[in-house]
């Protein structure tokens, strides 16, 4: 009940988008637009080896030949890819050696965002990699993690320090040719986290990356690579915010997960990019490719996402269930309000025997928003004893929003048992009446009911995030009633 009370409180207290401020900090940018030189510029900035540059250039050349996908149920004016900066970094002459050397303005920013980077102040048990525009500001608890052999560092650092691992895994789950935005990302990605959990290690703390877009007119293209070696376990959290601006900014990320035999990766996202104002002006275009590869037997990958921000979300965290007995899970809450457009869902590709997957998707649309679940469950001919359960529920608040469900179910094996169910409904008058009768105002009542609607998914989040997410649910729906 405490959490519920808090939600109700926050709904009352918090302003519309509390992360909408921007930090006035001098930054170092790549020239406007995207050419081969931009790619070289980024690569040079990151001191990358030759092979990495080649990899990027190959992706860039391929990207030039590709077309933007148009199948998603989202509408937006054509993006001018030449009218954006592909690299922006807070100016810092020397790389900081410790937290004391970091620009205090940056520390202040993260403090305002509720992500204190001073280790003593942090919630024990969470290591954070803070990414500001195109660079990683700081990674905490690195040393402590090193003791158990866990590598947790910015990807650019990993390219330098662990080239063998990066070369082996980068692009092995989401190839550079995968889709338009993934290819763009491969060419210009600037930052992201790299995680390697060695064999048999249970990562002693939650790992987390916090993404912040600050600079105007920039895109953020991060790339995350997580490898869980045999028998290991890791839980990884991702959070994102951006300043309130009337322009649309592009965020095209790629996340690759690899789980070897008996390994488990739990990946949670609380996405709260700036969603645009009430008239739909501004906001982030969140075009993300996330995919996990259950490469080993008995491996497990679980995606949990709370999507509340972004003007447009285009995101399908997927699992390739290659190893026998592997398991994929997808828990999602997608909330859209105002003029937001969400087209999100998952893909579960069953290739191995005895693989199972579970999809729980809760879509809530309010205001004039549109919210689409798009998912694929595919069963390969050789995948015996596959089990899938999918549940997609949509909740509509107000008569100008829309909710869509587009599931694809393809089975080539008779032993597969696939179930899909979806419902669409609104908050019933009886429920509202009941809450109002007990003294809640309408907005509080809606937040409470929606939290109940999402509970299946909220429960999957790590504790620290669950509280935050629950608050977000309330805030995102602010102004949707009445």
């Amino acid at each position: 009940m405490v959490a519920i009370r808090e939600t109700v409180q926050t709904v009352g207290e918090v302003e519309k988008y509390k992360y909408g401020f921007s930090t006035d900090i001098e930054s170092d940018k790549a020239p406007l637009g995207l050419t081969e030189d931009t790619v070289r510029f980024i690569s040079a900035k990151k001191n990358e080896p030759e092979w990495m540059l080649e990899w990027r250039l190959e992706a860039y050349r391929r990207w030039l030949t590709m077309e933007e996908p148009t199948w998603a149920k989202v509408e937006y004016p054509k993006i001018d890819f030449q009218d954006a900066y592909y690299y922006a970094a807070p100016k810092q002459t020397v790389a900081p050696k410790s937290l004391d050397e970091i620009d205090p303005k940056l520390l202040e920013t993260y403090k305002k965002l509720g992500i204190p980077l001073i280790e003593q102040q942090m919630l024990a048990g969470i290591a954070v990699d803070a990414v500001f525009d195109s660079v990683s500001v700081v990674t905490t608890f690195k040393e402590k993690l090193k003791e158990v052999g866990v590598i947790f560092c910015p990807l650019s650092e990993a390219v330098r320090d662990h080239p063998d691992l990066v070369r082996k895994y980068l692009g092995s789950v989401v190839p550079t040719s995968d889709n338009f935005y993934a290819t763009l990302n491969a060419a210009v990605f600037s930052e992201g986290s790299f995680v390697y959990i060695p064999e048999g290690v249970r990562c002693p703390m939650e790992l987390s990356t916090y993404f912040r877009i600050n600079e105007r007119q920039t895109g953020q293209f991060e790339r995350t690579l997580i490898i869980a070696d045999k028998g290991s376990y890791v839980s990884y959290l991702e959070g994102c915010t951006a300043p309130q601006r009337d322009e649309n900014q592009l965020h095209a990320a790629v996340v690759e997960l690899v789980a070897h035999d008996d390994a488990e990766i739990k990946y949670s996202t609380v996405q709260n990019w700036y969603p645009g104002d009430e008239d739909g002006k501004g906001g982030i275009y969140n075009f993300v490719t996330k995919r996990g590869d259950c490469r080993g037997v008995n491996s497990k990958i679980s995606w949990t996402q709370v999507e509340t921000g972004s003007a447009i979300t285009w995101k399908y965290p997927s699992c390739i269930l290659r190893g026998d007995n592997s398991r994929g899970e997808f828990y999602s809450i997608a909330i859209s309000n105002g003029h937001q457009q969400v087209d999100s869902g998952t893909k579960m590709i069953h290739l191995g025997k005895n693989t199972s997957s579970r999809i729980i998707s809760k879509g809530i649309s309010a205001g004039k928003s549109s919210n689409t679940y798009r998912g694929l469950v595919g069963v390969h001919r050789k995948a015996e004893n596959v089990r899938n359960f999918t549940q997609c529920d949509s909740l509509l608040i107000g008569s100008h929003c829309s909710a869509h469900t587009v599931p694809y179910i393809e089975s080539k094996n008779p032993g597969a048992i696939l179930e899909h169910e979806a419902t669409t409904s609104k908050i019933s008058d009886e429920q509202l009446f009941y809450c109002r009768q007990r003294g809640m105002d309408e907005e509080e009542a809606v937040a409470l009911i929606v939290n109940g609607f999402c509970r299946d998914v909220l429960q999957q989040l790590p504790m620290e995030f669950a509280v935050e997410a629950q608050k977000l649910v309330g805030i995102s729906l602010e102004g949707s009633v009445g």
């Binding site: 199948w71 001919r381 949509s394 509509l396 608040i397 107000g398 008569s399 100008h400 929003c401 829309s402 909710a403 869509h404 469900t405 587009v406 599931p407 694809y408 179910i409 393809e410 089975s411 080539k412 094996n413 008779p414 032993g415 597969a416 048992i417 696939l418 179930e419 899909h420 169910e421 979806a422 419902t423 669409t424 409904s425 609104k426």
Partner: protein, 434 residues
């Protein structure tokens, strides 16, 4: 343009002068439709609505040159609905055969004609020219508009009830393409039951392309029961467009059995409040059969109800596809939309694709869809075997029960029994084949 599309365009150029309505408004519509068809070509996998059925490739396998006017005697195969007393309208190769039909003593207020006879009438023009949203699925209707040669035109006046079911028999006697158009106009309060049988009677490689344009006036009631049992090397393409005024009641059941490849599309649109549509079906496929069902329901106005159940049984290396879409337009409050599809895979090579979609723009609605794909429950088989049934009988019993749940939705008792018998025969054929 691919070979198949080219053949179809050539058919039109050759036959244009001899098609019915060649001198009137229809000729203009036909030319326009053909131009649109020629431009778009045949749908293929990259057209989302045809993701699982590549017409461009599949039509290469059947004969598309227009089938000749079959004047000689035809071996009328026994149809499932034979035992019932019906009016009968027979089309051979898509053309009306008066000698085989029995249309005597129709009640007053019922007009039943071959298509060519009504083309000068306004109501027919209105139905044919009706523009549906030109999307990936409905675009193929252009082909029919260009090439349609004959069909059934039924108009029932206000408040009149068709006293006996009308049985529309569609026979393929010769190889080639047959393009038929059926028009059904039920005025306010009218009611009718229509059975349809699609059978092969001598043809081996052929293409059936039929479009049914249906309009139900306020409180009108139409019950359709269709049996599609085409020949082994055929492609059956049918599109049904129904518009329902306030309080109308539309029921349609399709049982798909024979035939190499089929694509059945239905588009139901509610124009008036309080209307109900029940679009159901079942299919039992084996060998290399393919059946693709596309089911689109458009709730354009408030307070209508739609309910869909499709059951598919797949044996051999058959492929089944169900694509459904329920659209609830803005302000179509109090909509009740239901859609369910279940499939049973009986063999290792069979495969099933399902894509049940919801697209909802109103909040005070109840919409649900569900989809399951699986095999026969082993425990259930064990239970039956423990009670003395052999494996084959146990499986047969379970499959029959599975299909029966769909067949139960046929409102007409006689037709329901008739189709049950057809399903039972499907198993005998299995015995013969193995």
């Amino acid at each position: 343009m691919t070979g198949a599309a080219k053949t179809l365009v050539e058919n039109f150029e050759r036959e244009r002068k001899t098609l019915p309505g060649a001198s009137g408004w229809l000729d203009v519509s036909r030319a326009k439709a053909l131009a649109a068809f020629a431009e778009a070509g045949l749908p293929h996998r990259r057209v989302e609505e045809w993701k699982y059925t590549d017409l461009r490739r599949l039509l290469d396998d059947v004969s598309l040159t227009t089938a000749p006017d079959h004047l000689g005697p035809v071996d009328l195969p026994a149809t499932a609905f034979e035992a019932m007393d019906c009016y009968k309208l027979v089309l051979v190769n898509g053309r009306f055969r008066a000698d085989l039909s029995s249309l005597a003593k129709l009640p007053k207020g019922v007009e039943l004609h071959p298509l060519a006879n009504v083309l000068s009438e306004q109501w027919a023009k209105k139905l044919i020219d009706r523009q549906s949203d030109h999307d990936g699925a409905t675009r193929i209707i252009d082909l029919n508009t260009a090439l349609m040669r004959d069909g059934m035109a039924l108009r029932i006046r206000k408040g009149v009830r068709l006293d006996k079911p009308l049985h529309l028999v569609f026979l393929a006697a010769d190889d080639g393409g047959a393009h038929a158009r059926h028009l059904v106009e039920l005025e306010e309060g009218a009611s009718a039951t229509i059975f349809q049988s699609h059978l092969a009677a001598g043809a081996s490689s052929y293409f059936v392309d039929q479009v049914s344009d249906i309009h139900l006036g306020a409180d009108a009631r139409l019950e359709m029961v269709r049996l599609v049992d085409e020949g082994a090397k055929s492609f059956h393409l049918s599109s049904l467009r129904a518009e329902l005024e306030a309080g109308a009641d539309f029921g349609c059941f399709t049982l798909t059995m024979g035939g190499q490849m089929q694509r059945q599309q239905s588009f139901v649109r509610f124009n008036g409040e309080g209307a109900v549509a029940r679009v159901n079906g079942a299919s039992a496929l084996r060998g290399r059969q393919m059946a693709d069902t596309f089911c689109h329901t458009d709730h354009a106005v408030p307070a209508c109800a739609s309910d869909t159940l499709y059951r598919t049984v797949l044996d051999g290396s058959a492929t089944g596809t169900f694509q459904g879409k329920v659209v609830v337009q803005p302000d179509a409050q109090k909509t009740d939309g239901r859609q369910m599809t279940n499939a049973l895979l009986l063999s290792r090579e069979a495969s099933m694709n399902a894509k049940p979609e919801l697209e909802i723009y109103a909040d005070d609605v109840q919409c649900a869809h569900g989809s399951t794909i699986g095999e026969l429950n082993k425990d259930a088989i064990f239970y039956l075997r423990a009670r003395g049934l052999n494996e084959r009988d146990a499986r047969r019993l379970l499959v029959t029960a599975f299909l029966d749940e769909a067949l139960d939705r046929i409102a007409h008792d006689g037709a329901r029994d008739a189709l049950r018998a057809v399903v039972a025969n499907w198993f005998s054929a299995e015995g013969a084949a193995t």
